[in-house]
Amino acid sequence: MADCGSNEEVAVIFNTDITSTESENNLINTMVEIGATLLRKMEINVTEAEKRTGKNTVNMQETYTVYLIETRSAETVPEGGTPTTPDTLWRRYSEFELLRTYLLVTYPYIIIPPLPEKRAEFVWHKMSADNLDPDFVERRRVGLENFLLRVASHPVLSNDKIFFLFLTEEKEWREVVLETGFQDKVDSRLKSLSAMFRVKNPDKRFTALKHYSDELNSVISQLLRVRAKVADRLYGVYKVHGNYGRVFSEWSAIEKEMGDGLQSAGHHMDTFAASIDDILEEEEHYADQLKEYLFYAEAVRSVCRKHELIQYELEMVAQDLVSKKQQKEELATGTVRVFSLKGMTSKLFGQESQEQRESRLAALEQSTREGEETLKERNTECQEFVRTAWEDIGRFKEQKDRDLREALISYAIMQISMCKKGIQVWSNAKECFNKM
């Protein structure tokens, strides 16, 4: 297994159901942080997928897939003892989505791990874009497991109670989540993502990070698009060689001396044509690794936007305070520098009495004090956000560099494997041609 030179502990991920490439992927993608993360205490697997039918919210019959989550204590089993049976529960994709939305709202300064794609995208023609297709379901199962492992190994997210309940409490969980009232915050989150507002003093680091996330999104999308086209073409090349197999076989029937050589060469052509299926399936794997970071880019962007909103609101509060102070000053000195409706109306309809002025002044004092309090709070909030966000961003950057480097290495390994198969097939074919 590739050793990245890191001293971090590696979680024991016990799972015999997944293929070696997938377990490799899990290992690669889920280097556990040092610290008390959930993963040190608990093994988590998504082991199965099943189709269910039921009535949905509008009372219509629908078919959906549920995934089996297995959890087990990570204590080492004594010699000769049997491993404890895991606790299991079933979850469907929409429940994962609910969990993620909750996390997004509750930890706006954290780059929340993404879910596997909702619909199959960047498909090349052989792949089904159908959500019920077994290959898609299988890849989604792996992606969901990956998501859980990422959350469970995050220094902050892994301690979340709702997450723990997601893994352990099948029936009641939905109510508990909704009871947290996170949905109210969803609106403001949506506002932060879509609103157009201008921040006067943008934080340069966040601006750069947002720009980076856009770049990452754009370049990985492009890479995935190209990959799909290349896969399509490569499939064509290999499969057409299968025609050689058929034609050589027919041709060998009418030849005497050449017959044997042609026939056996034809078989190797068939082998060559068939080999592309495995090759491209492995490559899907690489595409999934890229997709995860494509979606991560979106998560990074949303943290930046959230910061922008906080910064904007802070600026609004500060501006409001300044305006109140100016009003107070004017009222105290009698000069009008700032337009106020009260001031205007008093100008038009006559001066107000001393009493009125003093009560207004008092109200403004109160408002100003409150404003100062709010400003202090918001400032602290903003600073805290910036601090925690940059901690997580640093962690994310390291994880990203590690994971993607491993992905590139495994891509190289795949290419090597493909070349070796090619060498073998064509060497064999060469032998057969020699016998012609």
Partner: protein, 434 residues
């Protein structure tokens, strides 16, 4: 020894079959076969004169040595555009180096155009109707060809013309054709073209041939029926192989077009990364190098396998024509034979004619029979070599790509930031990572 009696039979029969202007050549040929074998190498003229007891052995050896005994070397090159008032055409330089006695000089250089090759081939077919004369490249190529003087087209044609002449020169009979010699040596071909049976007499022959074929054969000897069947089957198969090959090249070209997009995308990504920039650029460079290898592999296939298959596709037309001509010769004889049986008058002259035609049938059959196995061996050898070369190139392609990716892996084994030693160490045969 299968080849033993072959040249002797041929030379004897060819004497009777051929027209006058070839007679000279064949009488020389017979004398050579009887008294002295072909020279072993261009430089050793001494070898032409051998004691008779060694003659048989020598002949056998020659059959086996094959190409090593070549005494005539022909190249076609230097295509040049010639412009006249009426037309523009390409002239090819045909260079001949030979030690054969019947050639006055040992080196010749002439200019020939495609039409001249067409003339030569039709003369050869006329003279030897049941020999398998190698095909010429096509006059036009239907698909995708707009410009007649497109460089690729000219180069492909030049190579095919070169092959054509060499194939003729390797043929034990055709190589000694007077027309062939004239083609290789005469500075000005036009006067030679005007000799021989005129257009009208050729037309007459064609009409007769058609008439005879309409009448049909009474019975074709089994061996030629089998041959006919084979020609049909082979023609289908070789056409299919050719089509599959063209399709593969097309798919590979399309694959390569898409692959070329990979490298710039990885490079672009590298620009916005820090730690990742190095491996990303590494992958970008690997993909680019593999693209180059793929390009070469496609090029090789187009240069080696495609022309070889294409030639044999064209050959099938030749084979069919040869079978037809043989059938016609037999049909002509049968027709006259029938006429002989029915008519009472001029029995004698008819009998002579019939006898002559009977001989002609036998000669034609023998010629074909002999050339048939020669052609099959040639086909097997040519296609085997083309397929072998293709397989070798494919192995080479994968080996090159393997080395590229392995060197990338090697570069990733080192901690980022450390100096690397470059390509000083030999690459391992297996990747370090399992």
């Amino acid at each position: 020894m299968s080849g033993q009696t072959f040249p002797a039979d041929f030379s004897g029969h060819m004497l009777d079959l051929d027209e006058d202007d070839d007679l000279e050549v064949f009488s020389k040929n017979t004398s050579l076969a009887d008294s002295s074998p072909m020279p072993n190498s261009p430089s050793s003229m001494v070898n032409q004169y051998r004691p008779e007891e060694e003659e048989e052995e020598e002949e056998q050896l020659q059959q086996q040595q094959g190409a090593n005994d070549k005494d005539i070397f022909i190249t076609v090159d230097n295509p040049e555009s010639h412009v006249t008032a009426i037309e523009t055409f390409i002239m090819y330089r045909v260079e001949t180096k030979t030690t054969r006695g019947e050639y006055d000089s040992s080196e010749y250089e002439v200019l020939r155009r495609y039409q001249d090759f067409v003339w030569l081939r039709s003369k050869l077919e006329e003279t030897h109707p049941t020999l398998i004369v190698h095909p010429l490249p096509e006059k036009f190529v239907m698909k995708g060809m707009v410009e007649r003087f497109n460089n690729d087209f000219i180069e492909t044609r030049r190579k095919a013309l070169h092959r054509f002449l060499n194939k003729i020169s390797e043929h034990p009979i055709l190589s000694y054709s007077q027309h062939f010699k004239v083609f290789l040596t005469a500075q000005e071909l036009l006067s030679h073209k005007k000799q021989g049976p005129g257009f009208l007499s050729r037309m007459g022959e064609t009409v007769r041939a058609v008439a005879n074929s309409v009448r049909g054969l009474r019975s074709r000897p089994e061996e030629f029926s089998l041959m006919q069947e084979y020609v049909e089957d082979f023609s289908n198969k070789i056409y299919s192989v050719d089509k599959v090959t063209q399709r593969i090249i097309k798919e590979q070209r399309e694959y390569l077009d898409e692959l070329k997009q990979y490298s710039p995308t990885y490079a672009q990504w590298a620009e916005s990364e820090e730690e990742l920039a190095e491996p990303l650029n590494g992958v970008a460079s690997c993909v680019e190098r593999c693209s180059k290898e793929s390009d070469e592999q496609i090029h090789h296939m187009s240069e080696v396998l495609v022309p070889a298959l294409h030639e044999y596709v064209l050959c099938t037309e030749t084979l069919k024509a040869v079978m037809r001509r043989r059938d016609n010769i037999q049909a002509e004889f049968e027709a006259k034979n029938v006429a002989l049986a029915s008519r009472r008058a001029d029995q004698e002259s008819l009998q002579d004619e019939v006898d002559g035609l009977a001989d002609r049938v036998e000669l034609a059959n023998n010629a074909l029979r002999g050339d048939w196995s020669r052609w099959q061996n040639g086909m097997r050898s040519d296609l085997k070599s083309a397929f072998l070369s293709t397989a070798e190139k494919n192995v080479d392609y994968y080996e090159q790509c393997l080395a590229v990716w392995e060197s990338f892996l090697l570069s990733q084994r080192v901690e980022p930031g450390e100096q690397r030693d470059g390509e000083d160490e030999p690459l391992p045969t297996h990747p370090i990572i399992d």
